[in-house]
């Protein structure tokens, strides 16, 4: 035993001395291994951090740890950016989720069950004149003549602009007859007496403006919104990444929607503000310049065409004031007395930006223009109209009150995950096409009003013809109601019984676990438990459920591991070569050892010991350096350079942590790998013949 120890001591002491004797080479190899260890520890730690933060972002925003959905699904569940036909995946539904929930909640590792339904719909959008007419309509209801006068003035100012647009269109339009009709309509509306007497602005005039004039101001492209309906109370209690930015939370039993900030910023914000924001972001966050960046140049050239987006929101007084302010800013008014033309020109000049004036124009816009226009098409408190194609194919339109604007912390800028809006489950079911309690009741009321009743065969004659009631009167009174398809405008109450979301239809549900480390085991156990009860369903983990967003972690990880593999391969080759070259200088020494009785294995062990020791100390120092860097980076945070990195980091900065599993296993593994890397070279050295001991040094 003591002699084996002696041999080990001999090997290590010869190895150490050789390393010292050859310190330059030792340092190079050690540094190489240290560099590899440094990259491996940093890379793997960051990967763990990214994985953890993305996991948190995804599981704590929508996905939960597991997702359950119908066993009859045709497509697989994809929470973010998924979809089958027209972006809508057919994942079937759970007609009543309650039995599933009850069974799942029985599992000791399940913390919560949150029913959901994912879908998309069209957000109906009016143009600026529609908005002004809406405002006028509510002012008339309010009966404050000063306010009404203000609104009338705004409408008139916009009619002037419509007039200019029509004149411009005259040169382009092929259908002169239609155009002349439009001009006649506008002439009627723009006549001073049409809106003169505030008390005489009745429904008829308003409808004329809405149906004949407003469409002349152009249609806006419809906006698709992706949303999910859920049991809001359960959702808010279990998904901490939800972050309300503006407005109020949707309460239990309230019908409404909370819009994603990203969707609102990108699709429902005034386009002048939007372009200003985009340029500003590229200049500040990416250090670009307008002159030097194609994208910025394109934005800048779009910007100066957007003056209409400011003009159409102003009334005459605001327009006069803005024109004056712009003149003060040094943008002189040209083009005569005509306010619209004058201001159009001034705004075009104002919106012509370059590197020298951009920051000034940007802040001037937000200080002086933004407060006068409607910055967002939709704001909390407003009611929007959402139109969906139900599963049975007909169109369902539903007014929804916007409660708040929110984002998911960490997924703010994600094109896929950052665009979901959230509504209550009752509204969701309505848009999905399911007959809810409320619409059933409403339908009953309508039936009663219209006079529909069940008629049995034997009483048919009496019921239908023998009645003394003047049935025609009823029909006449309700003609308007009856003419409308019943499903088109269900007037759902703004409130519902919170019990309605405790059972009934859901498309899928998030399952939150107490110990998320046991995700796969719990998944299997839940499936088995449901099976036992005769309940069939699909249960998938968060990563699968979140589709490509969840896969991104794997892609990032795979890329990193690939890069590490390449680095190690290169290090492998360099270590190997350097040892083989080293053996050439040591032929006589090795030959001597062999001559005086050292077995080949002794030589192999000696060489392995040499790289093992170099590898160990290299790996330890590389790891130590990596730990220092991680600690430092953990204090300062690593800034995310662009949107993709922001998404991968799940926030603007990543604060890396020291992962002790990585720190302890990486140096051991690297030492082993470095040692194994020298096996070939060591065997090569062991082939030196004892007779080579007599070779003279050259």
């Amino acid at each position: 035993m003591s002699s084996q120890l002696g041999q080990l001591r001999l090997i290590s002491s010869v190895a150490l001395r050789n390393l010292w004797l050859d310190r330059f080479r030792t340092t190079i190899i050690g540094a190489l291994i240290a560099f590899g260890a440094f990259l491996a520890v940093i890379g793997l730690s960051l990967l763990n951090d990214v994985r953890a933060s993305m996991r948190a972002s995804i599981t704590q925003s929508v996905a939960g740890d597991l997702q359950i959905y119908s066993a009859n699904a045709k497509d697989s569940l994809t929470l973010f950016g998924g979809g089958g036909f027209m972006g809508r995946a057919d994942i079937g539904n759970l007609p009543d989720f309650a039995p599933y929930r009850d069974e799942i909640l029985r599992h000791p590792n399940v913390a919560a069950f949150v029913p959901m339904g994912l879908d998309m719909a069209v957000l109906a959008r009016g143009n600026e004149l529609d908005d002004s007419l809406d405002a006028l309509r509510s002012a008339i209801k309010g009966k404050d003549s000063a306010i009404i006068a203000g609104r009338v003035e705004q409408v008139r100012f916009q009619l002037e602009q419509v007039g200019l647009e029509l004149t411009a269109r005259r040169q382009l339009s092929a259908d002169q007859a239609e155009l002349e009709q439009q001009e006649r309509d506008l002439k009627v509306a723009a006549a001073p007496e049409f809106l003169q007497d505030v008390s005489k602005i009745g429904e008829e005039k308003l409808q004329f403006l809405e149906t004949r004039i407003a469409p002349l101001s152009g249609e806006k492209l419809p906006t698709y919104i992706q949303y999910f309906g859920t049991d809001i109370a359960a959702y808010l209690a279990n998904f901490p990444k939800f972050h309300l930015i503006e407005g109020t939370l949707l309460g239990p039993g309230e019908r409404g929607i909370m819009l994603s900030r990203k969707v609102r910023d990108e699709q429902l914000k005034n386009s002048v503000a939007k372009i200003f924001d985009k340029i500003h972001k590229r200049l500040t966050k990416r250090n670009q310049s307008i002159a030097g960046d194609d994208e910025c140049r394109r934005f800048a050239s779009d910007l100066k065409k957007q003056y209409q987006q400011i003009l159409s929101y102003l009334d005459r007084a605001d327009a006069e004031e803005l024109s004056r302010k712009l003149t003060d800013l040094g943008i002189a008014a040209v083009g005569g007395d005509e306010l619209v033309q004058r201001l159009s020109h001034q705004l075009t000049m104002f919106l012509t930006v370059d590197d020298s004036n951009f920051e000034q124009r940007y802040s001037w816009f937000y200080a002086n223009i933004a407060p006068k226009i409607r910055l967002y098409e939709v704001s909390p408190g407003q009611t929007i109209t959402v139109r969906s194609y139900t599963r049975s194919g007909y169109i369902k339109t539903l007014p929804l009150k916007v409660y708040g604007i929110y984002n998911f912390d960490g997924l703010e800028d994600s094109d896929l995950a950052g665009v979901l809006s959230i509504m209550d489950l009752v509204s969701f079911r309505e848009l999905y096409g399911q007959m809810t309690e409320a619409s059933r009741r409403e339908l009953d009321v309508m039936r009663a009003q219209v006079g529909i009743k069940d008629v049995s065969a034997e009483n048919a004659e009496t019921d239908l013809f023998g009645s003394e009631r003047p049935a025609t009167t009823v029909a006449a009174n309700d003609k308007k109601e009856a003419a409308e398809p019943l499903s088109v405008k269900p007037r759902l109450a703004d409130q519902f019984d919170p019990q309605e979301v405790q059972r009934g239809l859901a498309l899928n549900a998030a399952i939150k676990l107490k110990d998320s480390g046991k995700e796969e085991r719990t998944q299997q156990e839940l499936l088995a438990a449901l099976e036992n009860r005769g309940l069939k369903a699909n249960i998938v983990g968060w990563q699968k459920a979140s589709g490509i967003v969840g896969q991104l972690v794997n892609i990032v990880g795979g890329t990193l591991l690939f890069a590490l593999a390449i680095i190690f391969l290169v290090a492998f080759v360099i270590v190997n070569n350097s040892i083989i070259v080293g053996t050439l200088n040591r032929t006589r020494e090795i030959g001597t050892m062999r001559a005086i009785g050292a077995q080949r294995s002794f030589i192999v062990n000696l060489f392995l010991a040499e790289t093992g020791i170099t590898g160990f100390f290299g790996a330890i120092s590389g790891t130590a350096l990596a730990v220092l860097v991680i600690i430092l980076a953990g204090r300062l945070g690593i800034p995310a350079g662009n949107d993709i990195v922001t998404f991968i980091f799940s926030g603007p900065r990543l604060y890396p942590r020291v992962h002790w599993t990585v720190v302890t296993t990486a140096p051991i593994l690297i030492t082993i790998v470095a040692t194994l890397a020298s096996v070939y070279a060591a065997r090569h050295a062991a082939k030196i013949q004892p007779a080579d001991a007599t070779q003279e040094k050259e």
């Binding site: 002699s3 002696g6 002491s13 005086i596 009785g597 077995q599 001991a693």
Partner: protein, 229 residues
């Protein structure tokens, strides 16, 4: 007397490009236990080849070499190595100490390879031998700090530490001045007498040859004189 080394019809042919070099051809000889034998001859005559064969560092192309009656031609590399470790000692022309080890460690090295002695036993053996070659004072030094004569004495101690039956020395005095060389041969002779160790060494120095008990002369791979004593 028994022959510790027997060489029987040994031929050694090295390939050299497309031709072959007959380093040794038809060598027959016995070396008895306790002999102090020198192999002499001009360079290229096959001295080193013959020593390598006796030293089990090489195997003959044909014929057989017996060490204490054991034929070596069929032995594996592992068995040859073991044979070298247990029965043979080596002294090299350029001393061939392991540069990174001290005098003591160099001498201890074969004992550690043998792996059957305790630390105390090793200490005792090494110290005794170092005293015998008069290097007790230098035992902690590196070989690079020693003179040529001192280095060769370390090499002698290393060759003897395992108690080998045969010590082979390839031109042990070639890198030493004549006075030192003489003292080294003197030392080897003393050990030959006291330990009964068989010494076989090569040289081309007539002064050294004169010290030998038997001279085997080689020329062009063949034994010229001293075929058998």
């Amino acid at each position: 007397m028994t022959a510790v080394v027997r060489i029987s019809s040994v031929e050694k042919i090295y390939p050299l490009g497309k031709t072959q070099v007959h380093a040794l051809s038809g060598i027959d000889m016995d070396i008895q236990e306790g002999e102090f034998t020198t192999i002499a001859g001009p360079s290229g005559c096959g001295k080193s080849t013959l020593l390598n064969l006796i030293g089990c560092m090489d195997v003959p192309t044909s014929g057989e070499v017996y060490i204490e009656g054991l034929p070596i031609a069929k032995l594996s590399d592992r068995e040859l190595t073991k044979l070298r470790l247990e029965k043979l000692g080596f002294i090299f022309q350029s001393f061939n100490l392991i540069p990174v080890l001290t005098v003591f460690q160099n001498v201890e090295f074969p004992l550690l390879l043998q792996g059957r002695f305790s630390r105390a036993e090793r200490q005792q053996k090494v110290t005794a031998l170092l005293a015998e070659v008069d290097l007790t004072a230098q035992q902690g030094q590196r070989s690079s700090e020693l003179s040529g004569g001192q280095r060769q004495r370390v090499a002698i101690a290393r060759a003897l530490v395992t108690g080998p039956r045969i010590v082979l020395a390839d031109e042990p005095t070639a890198n030493l001045d004549s006075a030192t060389g003489e003292r080294i041969i003197e030392l080897m002779k003393t050990i030959n007498r006291t330990h009964k160790t068989t010494f076989i060494f090569s040289t081309h120095d007539p002064q050294v040859m004169r010290q030998a008990g038997r001279i085997i002369r080689l020329k062009d791979g063949k034994v010229v004189t001293g075929q058998d004593s």
